[in-house]
């Protein structure tokens, strides 16, 4: 049984690392937001895996993951709104060109 827990944790780690790579290398702000979603999903997978195979199996992990899904939805809505406002002002969604704070 515990070997299945290790498999789920490994899958979540792979997803988290792919999401981190996307955040660090992608140039489009939409894809950076999506990669953050992928990382949040990896954490949700960990929560649900521990709620089934953890030392004390209970539904608490699923409640936590529901809350984190709601937070992710709010985050994406605000992120897209900021992105659209930035696009209206700057005419681009390339994260490399958002450098107003530099000078």
């Amino acid at each position: 049984m515990s070997s299945m827990l290790a498999s789920y944790l490994t899958l979540a780690a792979i997803l988290f690392c792919i999401g981190l790579y996307g955040v660090l290398t992608k140039r489009s702000a939409v894809i950076v937001l999506l990669s953050i979603e992928l990382m949040l999903n990896a954490v949700n997978l960990n929560l649900i895996a521990f709620s089934k195979y953890g030392v004390v199996p209970s539904l608490k992990g699923q409640v936590f993951s529901l809350f984190s899904i709601a937070i992710a939805a709010a985050e994406v809505a605000v992120g897209i709104a900021i992105l659209i406002a930035l696009y209206r002002n700057r005419g681009t969604t390339n994260v490399d060109e958002f450098n107003e704070l530099r000078n």
């Binding site: 489009s28 992928l38 999903n41 649900i48």
Partner: protein, 188 residues
């Protein structure tokens, strides 16, 4: 240390198929050049994750995953793409060593996590029955009794976030309109 005691049964085979779907969706997201293709491939990943949640006896969370992630968030992202630039191509990073450095860092992080997972001995719990007879019913009881205050706080946060999103996205359009009418008046 790394003994892979993988048991072949229906559960683990289903898990392997779903894991291949999930990881291939995520890797294709990194590989595609058109942004809209990236969003669709990530929606594939989200649906695969819902399948994994069903395997973990979290049917309600799987439904929410499909509704919120594969539905709402993907559509919101496609809205975001349509509102900004239509057929944008993802450029490769200008500085090549930056991408290589990020890749090496992510691989190192994965190696560390993998080492930690494999070297931890998880206590083997006695095989208990299903977590709940009726997953949705038990989840509802948990949320509305033990976790009711976080739930209410979350609803306030969602309201604030959505009003904030509308204000942020709309603010500029109104200003532009005001500025446009001002220049029109000046011209007159």
């Amino acid at each position: 240390m790394f003994e892979l005691n993988f048991v072949w049964n229906g559960h683990s085979i289903l898990f392997l198929i779903l894991a291949v779907c999930i990881i291939s969706g995520a890797v294709f997201m990194l590989h595609f050049s058109k942004i809209i293709h990236m969003v669709v491939s990530l929606a594939f990943t989200f649906i695969g994750l819902a399948g994994v949640y069903v395997l973990l006896e979290a049917e309600f969370v799987a439904t929410v995953q499909i509704l919120v992630y594969a539905g709402a968030i993907s559509i919101l992202m496609i809205f975001g793409i349509m509102m900004t630039k239509h057929d944008q191509l993802e450029e490769s990073p200008r500085i090549q060593w930056k991408g290589i450095l990020a890749g090496v860092g992510c691989l190192a992080l994965f190696g560390a996590i993998f080492f930690a997972i494999r070297s931890t001995s998880f206590p083997s719990i006695p095989a208990v029955g299903p977590l709940a007879e009726d997953n949705t019913l038990e989840l509802g009881k948990q949320i509305f009794t033990a976790h009711v205050i976080p739930f209410e706080l979350l609803s306030v946060l969602l309201t604030v976030a959505f009003i904030g999103a509308i204000v942020v996205a709309k603010h500029d359009a109104e200003e532009k309109e005001v500025a446009g009418s001002a220049t029109r008046e000046e011209a007159e």
